[in-house]
Amino acid sequence: MSSTAHAVPGTHYLNNEKGLMSWLKTLDHKRIGVMYLFTILFFFFIGGLFALGIRLELMTPGQTIDFTLPLIGRIVMDAPTYNRFFTYHGAIMVFLVIIPSIPAALGNFVLPMMLGAKDVAFPRLNLMSYYLYILGAIVALSSLLLHGVDTGWTFYTPYSIRASTGTIMVVLGAFIAGFSSILTGLNFIITIHKLRAPGLSWSRLPLFCWALYATSIIQVLATPVLAITLLLLVAERVLKIGIFDPALGGDAVLFQHFFWFYSHPAVYIMILPGLGVISEIIPVFSRKPIFGYRAIAYSSFGIALIAFIVWGHHLFVSGQSEMANFIFSLLTMFVAVPTGIKVFSWVATLYRGSIRFNVPMLYALGFLELFTIGGLTGVFLATLSIDVHLTDTYFVIAHFHYVMVGGTLMAMTGGIHYWFPKMSGKMYSEKSALWAFILILIGFNVTFFPQFIVGAQGMPRRYWYYLPEFTTLNQISTVGSWFLLAGFVWVAVYLWKAIRSGENAPGNPWEALTLEWQSPSPPPLENFVETPTVTSWPYEYRS
């Protein structure tokens, strides 16, 4: 019953069927990956607009945005509007961008190909999770019609119980998007278990697959807890169940425990796939085997495991017991060990290599710089007493942007540049890409580094008004955000140009050894002309 695709010359997954419906109803993991990618980039743009609004408002201590435009009228950013801006920025970026970013977009496209499979284990489930994601997004954003939401993306009770009715919509949206995330994770786990090509043993599995595997486990185990938490929050508002509402005898801090039991592991859902991308890019462009394959693979699981027992470090000043603080601080320290192992291993991979500075490699090196800062400042926040002063200040904002944007987003952008020839069958201009990279790297540091300082000085997060002493650092940060904007717009422009009129890409432009590159660009419908057989390790680079 073997039915390999008939490789008609000139056809591939992008042109084997035409028309919008052929995309909307597709079961092909590659097309679903591409749809995810475009949708996620769209929401990244929306979330980014909110971020730019926040930064612009913070240009001066009091109200900054108050001007009159012809036709549109007076535009004012008062405190309630500002609070909605940071809520939507956070909720969109976390639930609709960073969590699905690498797994659902790049992972969907690349994972089955890396395994030498024709598709994911459950293609229909895959399409369904895409539509659940869209539905979640629509439900969440419909709150804009209900006075918007100003609770912050963390929905802390009891404020979220009393806030506008739109809150219910955002919470339900996150709930639905959560199911999308669970189904993607489930699909990936079974795919990795069941659909590896002949000869692709576990010890030959590419590190990106290992990272996605670890991520999927967290998605499957942690997201249901978020689901029930959000459901309880909705019930709290609709039925007044009084579990989280102190006015009805509930426990407000219990919500934080429930929320972070998911949302802390979710932080690793966001970063682990990025670490996987970097583990692929560095050996390819160093022409050397990855250093410490086993250590990197296992450390992903180490991180995933620890992820579940450190949630309490978000609650050091919440009033939880000192004993709990002691234990959570101690456990949190151990996150740094596997993370350090990865970072050191990547640097060691460069040693005695033959390094090419193609664009994906630049992003990988940029990632190393930013992620190192993000990781080291994480140690500050894990340290009990240090966290007491720094928590809920801009130091925390800077820290997680270094990890989530400097880490995940740089890895994602690097990954897009790495797999772009495979996905589109086109090459982009490396010269344009270099300048965009420089803009993004500088823009990022200028935007977020001052926030460490202003945070240590005491500026709290979620502040529309701030003390005049903090003005200069905030202005530097705001100017940095414009560099970031320019950089990302530039990326969009030259990649679009490449899709329209770029040179055709060869099957394996980077001379990489993982399976996805052993197929034509763009790949045929069922990925490979012939099902590949694996005979060696994916990092067998020798000069």
């Binding site: 092909d28 089955p112 598709d119 284990a121 293609p123 069941k194 499957v220 169940i241 005898g249 429930f258």
Partner: protein, 238 residues
């Protein structure tokens, strides 16, 4: 993209009890596909356990805080009705097992019959639940902020007990959340069983293909199992 061959493609002879089914193109063979689906379902069950687990954790926290309240409030639940429902669900699990076994042997009629009995058990369960809910709602035994102490006290008196603990509404919050989410699962399960009944009556299952039967069976047993925990935790406190 052809997900399975159209039946005209196939000219193989089917052994007795087998049905005409083809596995998806990306699996090497049908048993691989079956294994993958089974593993996927197990994983999904794990997510269900964690989701319900959240509620059990909330239950454990509040019960350890107010044990005497749980004792007092649970008297207002009718353990006899709970017991009836327990028996109903266990019976339905049994008929579900029989339905799957019949499907495996390619006994289409038996499969349909057992599925219908399972479905009826589900209906009976929901009917009893409705009786219970109506009684609770009538007497003000509602979740948290909607709880009516006056009505509840009267109701307790008529049952020969008292209800005075100020945290009593919490018990009913948990009761409605836990049994409500469970009932939602029962309804979803019944929808799935209806779907199976239609497919089984079209003779789509046989010894070589019964994956949906097996998977929905897992799910139904899970729903049953959750009730077996809920029953003592809510109806038989202390």
């Amino acid at each position: 993209m052809s997900h399975s061959h159209s039946s005209s493609d196939s000219s193989e002879q089917l052994a007795p009890g087998m049905v005409d089914h083809h596995h998806a193109h990306h699996f090497a063979n049908a048993s691989e596909e079956f294994e993958a689906s089974k593993q996927g379902m197990w994983l999904f069950m794990v997510t269900e356990v964690l989701m319900v687990g959240g509620l059990f954790v909330a239950y454990a926290i509040f019960r350890s805080l107010y044990p005497e309240m749980f004792k007092e409030a649970h008297h207002l639940l009718d353990w006899k009705l709970g017991m009836v429902n327990t028996i109903v669900l266990i019976t339905s699990s049994l008929t579900m097992v029989l339905a799957v076994a019949a499907a495996q042997r390619g006994e289409h009629k038996k499969t349909v019959r057992y599925l219908i009995v399972t479905l009826l058990c589900g209906l009976a369960f929901l009917f009893v639940k409705k009786i219970e809910y109506t009684a609770k709602i009538e007497h003000g035994l509602l979740p948290g902020g909607l709880f009516n102490f006056e009505h509840a006290a009267e109701y307790a008196k008529s049952h020969g007990t008292t209800l005075t603990h100020e945290k009593a509404p919490l018990f009913f919050s948990l009761y409605f959340m836990m049994t409500g989410i469970h009932a939602l699962h029962v309804i979803i399960g019944m929808g799935l069983i209806t779907w199976l009944t239609i497919r089984a009556s079209r003779k789509e299952f046989g010894s070589n293909y019964y994956t949906p039967m097996e998977l929905v069976g897992f799910y139904w047993h899970f729903v049953d199992l959750v009730w077996i925990y809920l029953f003592p935790l809510l109806y038989l406190v202390g």
